[in-house]
């Protein structure tokens, strides 16, 4: 407090002091003149007796100065002058630092937005996600079913609200063109649980979960784009999927739940699920686990306490309903932000670690530059020590110089990061949650500045160690050109460290690239090229609609085949349903489970998966036909190992109405088409013929030789000819879906590859600089050697040997680091072991080549040294 005041009034103080001193001298002169001296004599005498005017005034002012800070500023000014004196050094150091800090700033800004920032709901730290634990095999979190959700809701005492939600697709008609909506089916208190009320109208009421209720809250975006921001929209009835729904509210601008790549357009209550088109609505099927659940902890309740209570409820449900709940006696609670961003963590943290390594390599380069400069300035430091500068003072100056450098580097780096992020972020795709919110905020800036400060300590340490060494004053004695240089060992060690880090990064990048290559090139089990898919929500008798649609699709020019199916390959969406094997019946709860899918005849031909044995579905496999199934190879091997699966009968839990329950005969075996991109092995799956299980809503697949653009209009016309009020959505090529699924991996590979390249370049320049400097310093020695008969080849070999010593030492350290680093990558690697000798060998080779490249010019320079010139120079 006091010093602030002092700082403010200091100018006045200084003026007072000057005036006071002037008055003093005037008074003295006056007195002396009165005593008989001449004006000149009096003035001279007054000054003499006063003492050194400037110095005393300065000391008087000094009293008020805020010493440490102002000394710091003057050190900074001095540091800037020093940098200005060697601009090449300054530019090299600043750019290197900017590269390192900028890289980290950019990556951290992504980590910050995706992982660190709290969710944009009030008191979001109390929001948790609720799942049950499926204890079959390795325990894994599982979604909830409606009846279980209702029981958790009524029995718990730990949540203020607990809310179920699930994605659904809707068609809006009667408001302009037919329009596809992404929606959520939620329990009534979605808006209370999030703590965000709608801006217009209201949220849902408990009674609106009842059968027959059809109410909507629409997104701000939908309100703007489709309803022209009409304030009277609340209470209006709109047609969704052919049924009238009442709009009761409009969500605030920017509100989104759940946070997903594509924004949600509307929310409706689970009344929608209470009237299901299967005979038992899903709200009454305890085994239909399809709900995500979010809850708000009561104040003061911890997540562990909540979990403990829910575990009790889950255990009692497991006892009460063994058929469906026996294997789900426990729950799995995580904070909602963890639930949302958990998957994004490993790749982002790997990138952050890699960026950190890049910065370390950059630090190595800057430290080496500084060391060389310190060596150059040895005389300056020796002189300053000799005339009385304490070591503390010298160290402080060095630290200030480092800090100044890194702060300039930080500024340049942050600006560069802002610039490059614009170019790079679009490559990240939209699979990382909240990736759209990435930006440089206060926290990112703080991170960068702290990082720069820490960085300056890291690279600034080397010259400080050098200064603190015992032989500073010897700098004065040493003539220019002596070969003793205490900093040399330190520089060499730094260079070895850089080579090691470069190898670690390179090896990590090679592992990720290999993993990416594996994913890209593995057998998908079907032919994505030329395949496209789209979805519609038919409003009429589905089986009839899809049958007619398949006919229409088949007759589009260029289309070779068409089919329907759900879920589609590569989408990663799964339906997992238990079944009973006829020859090995098991009680409910102990039956085997597997993924299932529902497909039409021609599906396998359309996606390009071979039928290995038996037959495809045909038009006779209808509801009243013989119940049949097709399984994939993995299914046959897992559940019927070593026997012919054709003709075996199983009874799946999935049914359509009362007519469903029955043993189904396996009539065909097909290849393993991948349902999701990143699962390791081939997953077993069994296929129903669509007409025997006409669930809503399969996607349509078309294989064609003509490009998508020309096909799109034909598809729209065909759908329109069946129902002109039907929006088409999710129209996309399988290639596109594949590429989309790969974007995050691609992003990580791209960045890590760039980081490794940058690190390698830095290492090469570092090694080059070190060797060149060594050659220059040893000019005389080399000249002497040449004069004594060393051939240019021998001189060249000498430099190269030196370089290779560094490289080999660096490799030895780097290989150890790479093996450790590989383990850290384990979770994101696919089809490649964390320790891969071949890749490591290639990385070593690249490093060795880079080392040779760095050594080439200095070696040539050394070989061309003219002994006469070199020796005479001294």
């Amino acid at each position: 407090m006091n010093w602030i005041k002092q700082l403010l009034v200091r100018r006045q103080m200084n003026r007072d002091l000057s005036e006071e001193i002037q008055q003093h001298i005037d008074e003295k002169v006056e007195e002396l003149v009165e005593a008989g001296l001449s004006q000149e004599e009096a003035a001279a005498r007054a000054r003499l007796e006063f003492g050194n005017l400037a110095l005393l005034a300065e000391r008087g002012r000094d009293v008020w100065r805020w010493h440490s800070l102002e000394d710091f500023f003057s050190d900074v000014r001095f540091a800037l002058r020093q940098l200005g004196r060697s601009p090449a050094f300054a530019v090299a150091a600043v750019l290197t630092l900017a590269l390192g800090i900028g890289t980290n700033t950019a990556v951290f800004s992504v980590v910050n937005a995706v992982i660190l920032r709290p969710l944009s709901y009030p008191e979001s730290e109390r929001l948790v996600s609720v799942k049950t634990l499926d204890l079959r095999g390795v325990p894994k979190p599982s979604d909830l079913s409606y009846p279980n959700f209702f029981d958790f809701r009524s029995a718990n005492k730990v949540f203020e609200h607990i809310v179920s939600y699930r994605d659904e697709q809707f068609s809006l008609t009667g408001v302009g063109e037919p329009f596809h909506l992404r929606g959520e089916i939620v329990s009534w208190d979605l808006f209370p649980v999030l703590g965000v009320p709608p801006v217009i109208g209201r949220g849902f009421l408990p009674a609106e979960e009842e059968r027959g209720q059809r109410v909507l809250v629409i997104s701000h975006r939908l309100w703007r784009e489709r309803f022209g921001e009409d304030p009277t929209v609340v209470g209006r009835s709109v047609t969704i999927d052919g049924q009238p729904h009442t709009i009761v509210g409009v969500a605030p601008a920017g509100f989104s739940f759940p946070i997903a790549p594509e924004p949600v357009d509307m929310w409706t209550t689970l009344a929608r699920d209470a009237d299901s088109d299967t005979f038992t609505p899903v709200t009454e099927q305890r085994g239909a686990r399809m709900l995500s659940v979010i809850a708000r902890l009561k104040k003061g309740v911890t997540i562990e306490q909540a979990q403990a209570q829910l575990d009790v409820i889950a255990a009692s449900l497991a006892k009460q309903y063994p058929d469906s709940n026996k294997n789900f006696p426990r729950t799995y609670l995580r904070s909602e932000i963890e639930n949302m961003t958990g998957d994004a963590k490993p790749p982002l943290l790997i990138l952050l670690a890699a960026a950190g390594l890049v910065l370390l390599v950059a630090c190595g380069n800057v430290a080496n530059l500084l060391l060389m400069r310190t060596a150059e300035r040895a005389r300056e430091f020796a002189l300053r020590t000799a005339i009385g500068a304490g070591r503390v003072r010298l160290v402080r100056q060095l630290v200030t110089e480092s800090l100044t450098l890194s702060m300039i580097g930080c500024t340049v780096g942050v600006l560069a990061a802002i610039g490059t992020m614009r170019l790079i972020l679009p490559l990240a795709g939209n699979h990382l949650p909240r990736i759209g919110e990435v930006g440089i905020d206060g926290r990112v800036l703080l991170f960068s500045v702290v990082l720069a400060a820490v960085t300056s300590l890291v690279f600034g340490l080397a010259p400080v160690l050098r200064i603190l060494g015992p032989r500073v004053v010897e700098g004065l004695k040493e003539g220019a050109g002596t070969t003793t240089d205490g900093g040399e060992k330190l520089r060499n060690a730094l260079c070895v460290g850089q080579i090691a880090l470069g190898l670690v990064l390179l090896s990590a990048a090679s592992l990720l690239i290999a993993s990416f290559y594996n994913v890209m090139n593995r057998d998908l089990g079907f032919q994505p090229a030329g395949l496209l898919s789209f979805s519609v929500n038919p409003q009429q008798e589905q089986a009839v609609f899809y049958s007619r649609l398949r006919e229409k699709m088949g007759s589009i020019p260029g289309a070779t085949s068409a089919a329907i199916g759900m879920p589609l390959p590569l989408t990663g969406s799964q339906m997992t349903v238990a079944f009973n094997i006829e020859e090995r019946p098991a009680p409910a709860g102990e039956r085997p489970r597997s993924n299932m899918a529902i497909v039409s005849p021609g599906y396998f031909r359309t996606i390009g998966t071979p039928i290995l044995r038996g037959r495809d579905f045909n038009e006779q496999d209808k509801l009243d036909g013989a119940p049949v199934l097709i399984v994939n190879q993995a299914f046959a091997e897992k559940f019927f190992p070593g026997v012919n699966v054709l003709g075996k009968r199983i009874e799946p839990g999935a049914r359509y109405g009362a007519a469903g329950a029955k043993m189904r005969e396996i009539v065909g075996v097909v290849g393993n088409a991948r349902q999701s991109l990143l699962t390791p092995g081939s997953e077993p799956i069994y296929y129903f013929p669509y007409e025997q299980l006409p669930w809503c809503c399969p996607s349509v697949l078309v294989r064609s030789q003509t490009p998508l653009v020309s096909l799109e209009q034909d598809i729209r016309n065909s759908v329109g000819s069946l129902d002109n009020q039907l929006p088409i959505y999710n129209l996309r090529t399988m290639d596109g879906l594949f590429a989309d699924g790969m974007t995050t991996s691609w992003f990580v590979v791209l960045l890590l590859g760039s980081f490794a390249t940058v690190a390698l370049l830095l290492t090469v320049t570092g090694l080059y600089g070190l060797l060149s400097y060594a050659v220059v310093r040893r000019t005389r020695e080399i000249g002497l050697r040449v004069a004594l008969g060393a051939s240019p080849g021998e001189v060249r070999a000498m430099v190269l040997r030196r370089a290779m010593t560094f490289v080999l030492l660096g490799m030895a350290v780097g290989i150890a680091g790479a093996i450790v680093g590989g383990r850290a990558l384990k979770t994101v690697l696919f089809g490649v072991a964390p320790y891969n000798p071949l890749l490591l060998a290639i990385a070593c080779l690249v490093v060795a080549l880079a080392g040779g490249f760095a050594a080439y010019l200095p070696a040539r320079h050394a070989a061309s040294i003219d002994p006469m010139h070199a020796l005479r120079n001294e």
Partner: protein, 113 residues
């Protein structure tokens, strides 16, 4: 020999003398110097200017306060006045100075001890 050199041997002496002088009456810088010179019978050669850094230090410490006023000769001057804190400091300094002097005296005349 200037006062400045002696100050290194005995830090705080000048300040003590200033405070002691100000205790009797508030004075401005020039009058202070003159007073100290005269009272010390010119035994102490004070470099007049060295007064000012000392006064600034004491202002900062809060031992004295200064106000612009008019001197007897009609000159605009800054008049220094002892504060209660300065008074306390002076008492402390004088007593510790006296103890020190006593100690030195005892050492210098060992036969009496």
């Amino acid at each position: 020999m200037s006062f400045k050199d002696r100050k290194d041997l005995f830090p705080g002496a000048l300040e003590m003398m200033i405070l002691q002088t100000l205790e009797r009456q508030p004075l401005h810088g020039y009058a202070l110097v003159q007073h100290i010179k005269q009272t010390s019978k010119d035994l102490l050669q004070i470099e007049e200017g060295s007064l000012y850094p000392a006064l600034q230090r004491m202002l900062k410490e809060g031992w004295v306060k200064a106000e612009w006023g008019v001197s007897a000769s009609g000159r605009r001057v800054r008049i220094y006045e002892l504060t209660p804190a300065g008074n306390k400091h002076l008492e402390r300094e004088v007593s510790s100075f006296e103890r020190m002097l006593e100690g030195i005296r005892l050492v210098l005349s060992p036969r009496k001890a």
